[in-house]
Point group: C2
Chain length 435, copies 2
């Protein structure tokens, strides 16, 4: 016998066993149904792209993490590291075949050769949804609504979406006379939760001066009701700006839909990246603050600038599905089904094999997920199989049942027996035609 190959997976990569995969698929379906209810459409893009296409101007960090190699035709190719860059490329390549505003979602895997400490994976699933080709408060509000509806549909209690506006922050920095330092300021401010007020203040002072640093801290820690904070931000940036007016309009739409309590105006949210130009947001679960934001994003003014001269303003959001799944599990609102089978038909009599499959087909027609045990084994083994697969019902057909065209049903959870029933009654007992 030749030596065996060890069946190991790469570090940072995972197998998904049925229990996890069933739950992952259910979450995806729930999210997709919400996206579709808002008129979003799905797209897909290749997993491999030209490296030049993926990195474009490139950030050093991504460069190091990307899975990159030469293909058979000596092309420099790479695996996508997010869904945003391929989407930008997609829009530039297919603009003539699309209509604007274009509302798409994309749920798929991405790869980063990151350090795998702290539960980070090298292969993980992202779920992005964006509205491109329109710069309006309606679009901003719609993304917020989709975020809220998606997480609610998953059964997550007590969601709060923290929003802020980069346009107002920029106006404020300009008014303060530190606009040229905005990239560094963003980077420092973004660390607030991690390093605390004192350190942030220190670093800001180093970059600007004592007075300006304290003004910036005043801005990002503004407190009170939504409207109070908005007024404060306007005051700090020298009066109403386009951004603050936009945020005011969005606030009115929230009030109109009666969902204003879900949103917290939190000026410390800046989303580091230069990319964002308008509203930005992060989503926290009241019961799991430590897990961080499960859904974040914002408005950008030009999606595909590295590929196309056509300006494509947009607004979008991204859910890290792995983090979300961990959250659902911790909250106890994730399913943990071992299978989706409702009933197991016991395999008892060699001469009745064909009959078992015939009954199984009838149950499936009634919407009941049904298995026939696929060989003749001791009843005990067959019941153990049902138990390991969490199958709630068994159907027993021996010679007696067969002769009278009946079945016996056993509820494996309650141990109740329904002997010699008609197939129609069995369907009712098992709960067909319902789900």
């Amino acid at each position: 016998m030749p030596n065996l190959v060890q069946p190991k997976v790469l570090k940072g990569f995972r197998d998904f066993l049925p229990e996890t995969e069933i739950s992952r698929k259910e979450i995806q379906t729930t999210l997709e149904n919400t996206f579709k209810s808002f008129g979003m459409v799905p797209i897909d893009t290749p997993i491999l792209e030209y490296t030049e296409v993926l990195l474009g101007k490139g950030s050093g960090e991504t460069d190091k993490q990307i899975y990159r190699f030469q293909d058979h035709g000596k092309r420099d190719v790479a695996m996508r590291f997010d869904l945003t860059v391929p989407f930008a490329r997609f829009m530039a390549a297919n603009l003539n075949n699309l209509y604007l505003p274009f509302k798409r979602y994309h749920i798929s895997k991405v790869w980063r050769g990151e350090n795998t400490q702290r539960g980070r994976y090298r292969e993980f699933t992202q779920c992005d949804f964006d509205i491109v080709g329109v710069d309006s408060p309606e679009a901003d509000f719609e993304i917020l609504s989709i975020m809220y509806e998606s997480l609610t549909a998953l059964g997550i209690p007590d969601i709060h979406i923290h929003i802020s506006h980069r346009g107002i922050f920029n106006a404020f920095l300009e008014y303060l006379g530190v606009k040229e330092n905005s990239a560094e300021i963003l980077r420092i401010v973004d660390k607030l939760a991690k390093i605390g007020e004192e350190k942030v203040l220190e670093q800001l002072e180093e970059l600007t001066n004592k007075e300006k640093a304290s003004k910036i801290l005043e801005y990002i820690s503004a407190d009170g009701s939504f409207d109070e904070i908005l007024s404060k931000l306007e005051e700090l940036s020298g009066g109403p700006t386009e951004g603050s007016k936009r945020l005011g309009t969005i606030r009115k739409m929230m009030l109109n839909c009666g969902i204003e309590d879900l949103f917290i105006l939190n000026p410390s949210i800046t989303r580091g990246l230069d990319y964002y130009t308008g509203i930005v947001y992060e989503t926290f679960l009241d019961e799991l603050p430590a897990i961080g934001s499960v859904c974040s994003g914002g408005r950008y003014n030009n999606l595909a600038s590295i590929y196309s001269k056509t300006e494509m303003p947009g607004v979008g959001s991204s859910i890290g599905l792995d983090r979300l799944m961990a959250a659902l599990e911790e909250l106890g609102v994730s399913s943990s089904k071992k299978s989706l089978t409702k009933v197991l038909i016991m395999n008892m009599d060699d001469s009745l094999k064909g009959h078992y499959f015939n009954i199984a087909a009838k149950l499936r027609k009634a919407g009941i997920n049904t298995e026939v045990f696929l060989e003749q084994k001791k009843m005990k083994n067959q019941f153990t199989f049902a138990e390991r697969k969490n199958i709630p019902f068994a159907i027993i057909i021996g010679e007696d049942e067969y002769k009278e065209n009946k079945v016996s049903v056993k509820n494996l959870e309650t141990r109740e027996n329904f002997n010699m029933t008609n197939i129609e009654d069995a369907i009712k007992i098992i709960g067909g035609n319902k789900e």
Copy 2:
């Protein structure tokens, strides 16, 4: 302005625009629902694996086509080229956490750096379903049933599944005294459809002799009813064998379920590969013979022999989703929806923005996929958008409607108008709470 990066995709790779992706997702959902109705469970595996794990003993052909490179940790890694090898590795790695028989499905992308001529892609989607850990006619029959039910659920008319049995063929070759040449004989026979009887006979004669070659041809071209052919095969292989008895049992189960007409015993089906040991099958669409088999597979006696000493007999089948989609399109049974939106709420009055979203939320609650047009544009532009997205209804809310808490509905297909209706009536008109 910096030079633009050309937004091109790699040869053999594709973007999926909404129309295609909606249809692809619908097909997947239909297939998954069928699999689940038989008690199959989903799994997922990494897209990158150790090259040694994927290639194992390796076939020369696959070696050349695989996308292989060194990762950041200098590991020799590769992208999966099918779903069978990762499944074998999965079973060996996770056997202790699973139960047997294990029935799994897996729908996902795979990659091969093939020649892209003749509509072959380098990135394509496979859909595999297998039953592992049991060697029984029940399991063989169940895979056949799933094949039939899956394709029927997709609305494909006139399916025929051609089956054959490698065990009988092997017994026949042994009886004929040419067992040692079986690999070459399989390879030649597999080309029957491509090169024709004469060439096959010629090549077989070269390998064996005139008499034996003509016997082999007699075997693979045996004609008549299922039972006649089965008798003929038994006769040619010197009497009933384990394989022919198994096929007889499966035949009885077909008769018992009244689906015997779907299956053709076709001894020319051998499925080239050495891998198979029992029943083998290919599926042809009567209306599209040229497209070839859309669903093929068979029984193998040891899935994971390169990773594990545990024997895992199994039976399975694979659907090439890209070929299937092409077939559905040609048959005119694929959907071609531009979106899944049922109604567009026109954006007409700046002061009613919040109200539009409020009405949209009500429609969504009634199960109607609803969009609000996301900016104020001319009505003409908004109608054009609805048309391009194939949205069947529009809702118009001006000041009059708003004041009386009504809406006006326009059926964009029939041009019918329903002016000043209640929201409840509008829901009925649009067809909510139905699908």
